[in-house]
Symmetry: C2
Subunit: 200 residues, 2 copies
DNA sequence: GATCCTATCTTTTCACTGTCAAGATTTGGA
DNA sequence: TCCAAATCTTGACAGTGAAAAGATAGGATC
C-alpha cells in the first residue's frame, strides 16, 4: 500500500499533514487544495472523498489544532506547582506556546471564518478547550454553585490576556517582549498574565 | 464626470469604499478583486492602475483602517476625564469599538499577511497607532528618560488586554461579556482593562 | 474461488480568479 | 492644435475549487 498502489492506505491522515505543512509554508492566504493534493501525491479531486471541500479539510485541521492547543497547555501545567494561580499562569504560557509554534494553525482557529465551527467534531474540540480554561479559573476562586457574573468576568479576563499576548507575539508585533527568550521571557509573560487573574 | 464618462473621476476612492463594503459582506476569505471592480462599475483590470494588485488595494485599505482605529480611540478619550488612567481605559474601549464596528478591517490589519506592512503610507499609519498607545502608557507612569524595560512591559500588557478583548469579542467568542450592552458593558470591560494597567 | 457492491482515486469539464499585454479614450499642457 | 501621459477596456493565460463521470481496488457474500 505504500509505493504505487491505486489506493493510498491512509490518505485522510496524509492530507491533514500535507495541509498543515502547506499552511505553515504559504499561510492561509496562499492555501490551495490542489497544492495539498500534489504534496500528498494524489490527484486534485481526491481530497473531496475524505473532506467534502476546502472548508471541510480546514475544519478537520482546525479540530486537530484545538486538541494540540489543550495538550500544550497541559504540558506546561504538568511541570508547574499545583496551586491554582500557578496552574492558571502555566496554562496561559501554554496558550502562547501554541501560537508561537503553530502560528498558521492558530490563525486558522481564531482568525478565519473558513472552518465550520458548527461541525460536531470541531465544536467538541473547541468546547473542550473552553472548558479547560473555565475549569482552571473556577479552581482558582471559591467554587460555589452556578457560574456567577464575577466568574464570567474572571474567565474573560484570563482568556483575553492570554489570547492578546499570543496573537500579538505570534504575529511579531510585540518586539519588546518578543525578543526575549528562555526563563526571562516566561517571567515577563507570567507577570503580565498574573495581572489579569482573579484576586486572591 | 458622474453618469457615464470614460474616466471615473475619483476611482481610487470609489475602489477603496467598494473594497471595504465587499470585505464586510463576504469577509477576507471570499474577497475578490473582480467583484470589487464590478461593484465600482468598472472593468476588472481598472484597479491595477490605482493599486498595483490585490495586495496593493488591501494595503491602502489597511492604512485607512489604522487611521480610523486611532480616531475611534481619541473619540472615546475626548469624553473621558483627563487623568492618565481613565484616558488609558478609554483608549482600550475605543480599540474594542473599532474591532466591533469594523471587524473585517480589523481582521485585515491584525490577522492577515496580505497587506504590505513595509509600504510607506501603511507603515506610517501603523506607527502612529503604536505611538498613540505608547504615549498613553508613558503618560500614566513617571516619564523619565528613555523607555526602560518596565515601561515596555506596561505597554505590552495594556496592548495585549485591549487586543485580546477586541479580537475575542469581534469574533463572537466571549459570549458572556459579548451579550452585555451599554454602560454595563463599558463598566465590565473597563474593569478588565484596568487590571493590566501599570500600578500607580 | 467467482461475483458483485462499494469505497477510493483519476480524468474531464466548467465557471471563476488575478495578472499581464495591448488597444481605446480622455485629459491637460505645450 | 496637437501630442504625451493618465485612465480605462478588452482579450488572453495559467491557476483555482467544485462537480460529474469513469477507472480501480478491497471486501463481503454466495
Amino acid at each position: 500500500m505504500s509505493t504505487k498502489s491505486y489506493h493510498h492506505g491512509d490518505l485522510r491522515q496524509a492530507l491533514l499533514e500535507a495541509a498543515e505543512a502547506e499552511l505553515t509554508e504559504t499561510g492561509l492566504e496562499g492555501f490551495s487544495l490542489r497544492k495539498v493534493a500534489r504534496r500528498a501525491g494524489v490527484s486534485h479531486a481526491a481530497p473531496a472523498h475524505h473532506f467534502k471541500d476546502t472548508a471541510g479539510l480546514l475544519t478537520a485541521l482546525c479540530a486537530v489544532g484545538y486538541r494540540r492547543f489543550v495538550a500544550l497547555q497541559k504540558q506546561r501545567q504538568a511541570v508547574t506547582p499545583l496551586d491554582a494561580r500557578s496552574q492558571q499562569i502555566a496554562a496561559g504560557l501554554g496558550y502562547i506556546d501554541f501560537a508561537d509554534e503553530n502560528t498558521a494553525l492558530f490563525r486558522l482557529m481564531f482568525g478565519s471564518r473558513l472552518p465550520d465551527f458548527e461541525n460536531a467534531d470541531n465544536a467538541a474540540a473547541m468546547s473542550d478547550a473552553y472548558l479547560h480554561l473555565a475549569k482552571g479559573v473556577g479552581a482558582s476562586v471559591e467554587d460555589n454553585g452556578p457560574p456567577d457574573q464575577q466568574m464570567m468576568i474572571d474567565i474573560s479576563a484570563t482568556w483575553a490576556i492570554a489570547h492578546g499576548l499570543a496573537d500579538l507575539l505570534s504575529s511579531g508585533r510585540l518586539h519588546m517582549v518578543g525578543s526575549l527568550t528562555g526563563p526571562k521571557r516566561d517571567e515577563v509573560l507570567s507577570g503580565i498574565i498574573a495581572r489579569c487573574l482573579p484576586e486572591r
